[in-house]
């Protein structure tokens, strides 16, 4: 306890010293003494597990390969196969629908919760904990809980019948029209609280004075939100959108638990499809091609988001 206090004091003193002298971490003399060997273990592990296998994967994407015999070069054959197979474009479409709906949904709900919780409430901490706690537990287990709730004879349908809404009750996960929205709903349910935390942190950065000045000038709550709060939340929105985009593009656990890709492949995503083609069907080359496609789509989405942000800046 004492040491941590001392450390915090040391850090504060040093920060003040930097402010006075303008000395930053990079310019110092000790900087040139840090040996490169410090980077070696991290770089080696990351290369061995992620970078080199990814380069190899990009190569296998252009081959026919079962993992045992030598790969055979087929050029763009795997990609052509993906787009001509009956399920191919569907897999791509489901993934894009999930990404768009999830990114919009989880950020909108998260921001709504953050705005609601932002200022003095009697039960603020309880509510914040309650909304956030689903985000720390296993997505697979959360998905099984919802599989039970959405089951034909599950609590949701029972509750609907009890409320006289029996006509709405249906096998949610067994019908193509409701299965995909259900998956998105479960994801939004689990991670809205995480995004709420991101936006709460962002809202803390907005000066109370700015807000009060705007209110004194007669700005209503919508004008205040649109012109004071929203612009200042930009860094938080950037992070929220980027995180949710990456998570949803590679979605796997929740789909496997909720529907397994069914009914009849109507909720298959790029994540589950890549896995099944490789580890169920043994088509390693084809699976690598779909994975490369996934990387391509992620890069396009990342570049698009970056451009949209730059345009807003100018």
């Amino acid at each position: 306890m004492v040491t941590s206090v001392r450390r915090r004091e040391a850090l504060r003193e040093a920060t003040a010293w930097v402010r006075r002298t303008g000395e930053t971490g990079r310019a110092a003399a000790s900087a040139r003494r840090v040996p490169w060997i410090f980077v070696a273990p991290a770089a080696a592990l990351c290369s061995a597990v992620l970078l080199i296998p990814s380069l190899l994967g990009a190569f296998y994407a252009f081959t026919e390969w079962d993992g045992l015999t030598a790969p055979k070069w087929v050029g763009l054959g795997n990609f052509a196969e993906f787009f001509t197979r009956p399920e191919g474009t569907g897999v791509l479409a489901h993934t894009l629908v999930i990404v768009v709906c999830y990114v919009v949904g989880v950020n909108a709900v998260g921001l709504g919760l953050a705005l609601g919780l932002e200022r003095a409430l009697r039960t603020r901490n309880v509510l914040r904990t309650l909304f956030f706690v689903p985000a720390v537990v296993s997505p697979l287990v959360v998905a099984y809980v919802w599989k039970f709730i959405l089951d034909t004879h599950g609590p949701l349908n029972t509750a609907l019948e009890a409320l006289g809404l029996g006509a709405v009750a249906q096998p949610w996960l067994a019908k193509p029209e409701t299965a995909l929205p259900a998956i998105i709903g479960v994801m939004v349910w689990q991670f809205s609280g995480y995004h709420m935390l991101i936006y709460l942190a962002g809202l803390q950065g907005i000066q109370a004075e700015t807000r009060e000045a705007a209110m004194v000038d007669g700005a209503g709550s919508w004008l205040l939100f649109r012109h004071i709060i929203l612009p200042q939340l930009r860094p938080a929105i950037t992070i929220g959108v980027a995180l949710s985009t990456i998570i949803s593009f590679t979605l796997f656990d929740q789909v496997m638990a909720l529907t397994g890709g069914g009914p009849s492949g109507k909720t298959e995503t790029l994540g589950t499809y890549v896995y099944k083609q490789a580890f169920v069907n043994g088509q390693y080359g084809y699976s690598a091609a779909v994975a490369l496609l996934l990387v391509g789509v992620v890069c396009v989405a990342a570049a698009g988001q970056l451009r949209a942000l730059r345009r807003e800046d100018s």
Partner: protein, 279 residues
């Protein structure tokens, strides 16, 4: 600071209504898991007439099919998570330190490679990695699983450490240098203790990822006695899919460790999740 107005009361009530979808599943899970086999599960919203913990002991005994018990899976998950976090801190902290302190073009290049790896989906490298792990005999072992998780989480850990070391003033390191300390001593005894908050963040974020992940675990240790908790739950559900009381008792067993951890480390975990904002 802020007055509690009628508007505050309205917000408070709305938020509690919004919390119903969070509370209701918790209620359904607990009541169903406590329901004895005689009472029909699922079709009743009322709490069980004669609650029992029998489902929990039965789930604990029968988990994971024939390959792994819940106890074994719990041990596997704990070992894997602890080792991954330890290795990550040991490797990522010095890397982030070096990248933050050396302002050369090379460090910029390495930093951007780590950033690229940060958004690279694992799916692309998964097959070559899997084949390599099978050939070296590392697939199906805890050592192999630890290696994979450590490599995959390295970009995030390095990214966090680099950001915090960049913001950390060098005054103390300069002083230690003048005193004749070696770079390794300066790092380990001066710089690293100052960024202990980041170490907590790295441990929380990567630890929770490893503990909760299903995808990597099912690929590398699925169907073995090295399976982690989510994989054990998956096999368990596959076996007892229609017996919801048993399934939800198993799910609850899987949720308890993380919820306990959250209860004790709420502040660190909350900080961990929002720290990416400042990195």
């Amino acid at each position: 600071m802020h007055r509690y107005t009628r508007w505050s009361a309205f917000r408070e009530i709305s938020l509690w209504i919004a919390a119903v979808p969070v509370l209701a599943p918790m209620y359904f899970v607990i009541t169903t898991a406590l329901r004895p086999p005689g009472e029909t599960a699922g079709s009743s919203l009322a709490p069980p007439a004669r609650p029992t913990v029998g489902n929990f002991s039965q789930a604990w005994g029968q988990a994971g099919g024939d390959t792994v018990s819940f106890g074994q899976a719990l041990l596997n998950s704990t070992l894997t998570t602890v080792m991954v976090v330890a290795l990550l801190v040991a490797a990522a902290a010095p890397a982030g330190y070096a990248l933050a302190r050396r302002g050369s073009r090379l460090s910029g290049l390495i930093s951007s490679l780590f950033t690229l790896a940060l958004i690279l989906p694992i799916q692309l490298g998964l097959i070559p990695l899997y084949v390599f792990m099978v050939e070296t005999g590392l697939a199906g072992t805890l050592a192999g699983l630890v290696l994979v998780y450590t490599g995959l989480q390295m970009p995030l850990a390095v990214f966090l450490y680099t950001g915090f070391f960049r913001a950390l003033p060098t005054a103390y390191e300069e002083a230690a240098l003048v005193d004749g300390a070696s770079p390794i001593r300066i790092f380990a005894q001066v710089a690293l203790p100052l960024v202990r908050p980041v170490t907590v963040v790295v441990a929380v974020l990567t630890g929770l990822f490893v503990w909760n992940d299903f995808f990597i675990a099912v690929v590398f240790v699925g169907d073995t006695d090295k399976a982690t908790l989510p994989v054990a739950v998956y096999s368990f559900v596959g076996q007892f899919s229609t017996n919801w009381s048993l399934v939800l008792a198993g799910a609850t067993i899987a949720l308890v460790p993380v919820l306990l951890l959250y209860a004790f480390m709420q502040r660190s975990i909350t900080q961990g999740f929002t720290s990416t904002l400042h990195g």
